[in-house]
């Protein structure tokens, strides 16, 4: 437990210092959101309607971008080998790392969402709905991404492959996240139905992700 706490604090500390790049995700998110009106046109009614989808896509891409660093930095400085050799269960260790990663990359995205929603002319209900679905969905993005990171960490230039592998698995999250946000805005479904499914997907990924990633890390060793 103490070791996990130390690992957690270490990852948080690395993320906020130079080279961690936690804030770069938010910057990227901002860039994606800002690009959309250029592509679609400055029609505020249209932007309002597709706003939740834009925010979800932006958050999805931003968290994909950050996934590359989830394990590779540890591989480079050798601390991944220490994790593999230590007595701490690897499943718990990678879950801790993913949790720290979510706090430093996922949570800033959620916090930034209300601000970015202003650009897209979303009203208060819509903004709250999108922020809530992102809060429920981004942990799943990180924990599913953890599987991909475990699979590709030992590969040279595994980053793009990581995105390709993780994106199909993230599609259900995108569907139910956007469905829940839209349900809160226009209906006809109640918000609760897709939101509950989204939460269920997140819970499944919290269980599945660390086990699959730990297995991948063990099998990936020579």
């Amino acid at each position: 437990m103490k070791a996990l706490l130390a690992l957690f604090l270490r990852d948080l500390r690395i993320a906020v210092r130079v080279g961690g790049g936690a804030m770069i995700g938010v910057l990227f998110f901002l860039a994606v959101v800002a690009l959309m009106p250029f592509a679609i046109g400055p029609d505020l009614a249209l932007l309002q309607r597709i706003g939740p989808a834009i925010l979800w896509i932006g958050a999805l891409l931003a968290s994909l971008l950050a996934l590359d660093r989830l394990l590779s930095a540890d591989l480079e400085d050798g601390s991944l080998d220490l994790l593999l050799m230590s007595g701490t269960p690897l499943e718990l260790a990678v879950a801790t790392k993913a949790l720290a990663h979510w706090i430093t990359t996922g949570v800033p995205l959620v916090i930034a969402t209300p601000v970015f929603a202003l650009f897209l002319n979303l009203d208060l209900t819509a903004t709250a709905a999108v922020a809530l679905t992102l809060l429920a969905g981004t942990p799943a993005l990180t924990f599913i991404g953890l599987i991909g990171a475990g699979l590709t960490v030992t590969l040279r230039r595994g980053g793009i492959l990581l995105s390709v592998l993780v994106l199909p698995l993230a599609i259900p999250l995108l569907i139910f996240g956007v469905a829940a946000s839209n349900a809160a805005i226009v209906g006809p479904l109640p918000f609760g139905t897709p939101f509950t499914i989204l939460c269920a997907l997140t819970l499944v990924s919290l269980v599945l992700g660390p086990f699959a990633a730990a297995l991948a890390l063990r099998q990936g060793q020579d």
């Binding site: 699979l151 595994g158 492959l161 390709v164 199909p168 698995l169 599609i171 699959a212 099998q219 990936g220």
Partner: protein, 244 residues
Amino acid sequence: MGLIDLANPSRFLTFTDRALPWLAGVTAIMFGIGIYFGSLAPDDYQQGATVKIMFLHVPSAWLAMFGWTVMSISALGTLVWRHPLADVAAKAAAPIGAAFTLLCLISGSLWGRPMWGTYWVWDARLTSVFVLFLMYLGVIALWRTIEEPTRAGRVVAILTLVGAINIPIIKYSVEFWNTLHQPASVMRLDGPTIHSSILIPLLIMALAFTLLFITLHLAAMRNEILRRRVRTMQLMQAQAAPGH
């Protein structure tokens, strides 16, 4: 000869040597019968002759899911039982499964144009099969990225098992989301809802396609074993080369 003897790659090679011509022959005969009966099948009163795309489309869809199932069972074989041929089977199945998925998407889209008035809709069934295609490509990419075959096998096996979640989603997508694609009509608890004049050629074609899959799969496994032998020999040769 039991299944356990086939775990030995050399015995497997001898077995496929003998079995492959027979399998290929039976496959060709089944295709002949299937195409003959398929051409005899009456046109549908609504869909006309286009209903015959079904004889290509439905078996490919079935094999698209079958391919991933084969890979998932092989993945279990790799990770749990450490079966020496399991990762060979998984690697050989991936491109074949991807090809049938693509065939299913293309034939479905050609069928959809006259029936639904569009080549593509973002319907639940279509989308989930499309995602399956993407996952096949991802798995193939991962196979190609890791050089050492046994290590690649173990890593890909994990991805395959995670991706296996998609298979029941595809199977039941037409029941979960009631969208444009028609619900299942062959595999039903209360019996098929297709008339026997179409059902029988469809089943023969499904059998023929499955035999084709097995034939191609065994041949691809054979090639993969030989490829690995060549690789091992090259490595040994490189090690034995003077100057090392």
